[in-house]
Symmetry: C2
Subunit: 187 residues, 2 copies
């Protein structure tokens, strides 16, 4: 896993944006670049949390750094992204789908519970979903999201996101200007 | 690295607390248990971020989960802990020392810069330090911390923490009741 540093060159942002537009870029990378962009202009300080890894065995070869030789990916108990925006704690999970609806099986109960707890504490808690087929990104606050889940729905259609959520513009720089959608949802 | 889940048994908290009192417990574990305690009583939602690891090679043996066979620890570009408390974004770095003063060489410039940026965004940003020799824990807001750093000091003495910071009580449950000190510093 790459760790991105706070000050990428503009060239880097532009290049990777084009890759996102042409479907060759991962949604996660586009979000990471957007967060770098927001940090660069001091709009928000938001990072992706590292993937949790259980380290089992480490070698310490002479004259070189510790080398992990046995480890396993762990299931995250929280969400992918958190930070601060407009003085508020912000926390979200990012998902992508090939379908024209979002199926609840793609998000864990742990993650929904975590977002519900953040909402209770007056943080901004939402899910951001990339619909690959139509190249559209939607945000939905955890409250309507959980309502539909508790209503027994299997999935949420794009048409529902248009009513209940807010669409994030895919643009030049940042690749996904999702804080404009956050403004619409919360401010 | 273990991942802690939101609802540990009380027994677990008590047991590990005793280990902390007798110097056998790591400061990090004591903080993690304190954060579990705070989550259990819905006082705050704060987690330690996973350690960033660069994965180089993964094996996918048949009928078992992906096994990472080459990976390296990376330097964190931000801090160890963040979350939400009293509706505010909270972010801190935890350090421990054998000495009776805290030497600035134990914290990276990246981490100080990150905390300064959180402070600019009106988040709660501080350093929490465990002085092993005297079994005392102090919090200091990033502003006085950085002032002393920019004044050219090499280290900060416990006596200075008593004036500029707030002491966190080491107790029964949670092991380190540091949010009381956060209240003193910020609320």
């Amino acid at each position: 896993m790459k760790v991105k540093y706070p000050y990428p060159s503009i060239n880097n942002v532009v290049k990777t944006h084009h890759r996102f537009q042409s479907q060759g870029m991962y949604f996660e990378d586009a979000l990471n670049l957007s967060n770098e962009y927001y940090r660069n202009i001091n709009k928000a300080i938001i990072y992706k949390k590292p993937t949790p890894i259980q380290v089992v065995k480490v070698d310490y070869p002479r004259r070189s750094k510790a080398r992990i030789v046995e480890a396993y990916y762990q299931t995250a108990s929280t969400t992918d992204y958190n930070g601060i925006y407009r003085g508020k704690y912000i926390d979200y999970e990012a998902k992508e789908t090939e379908n024209l609806s979002f199926n609840f099986k793609h998000i864990s109960l742990h993650q929904m519970q975590h977002l519900a707890r953040i909402d209770e504490q007056n943080g901004l808690a939402f899910v951001i979903i990339f619909f690959k087929k139509v190249n559209r990104v939607f945000l939905i606050d955890i409250k309507p999201f959980l309502k539909l889940y508790h209503d027994g729905l299997k999935s949420i259609k794009i048409a529902d996101f248009e009513v209940l959520g807010a669409e994030a513009k895919i643009g030049f720089s940042p690749p996904i200007d999702y804080l404009v959608a956050v403004d619409k949802l919360y401010f």
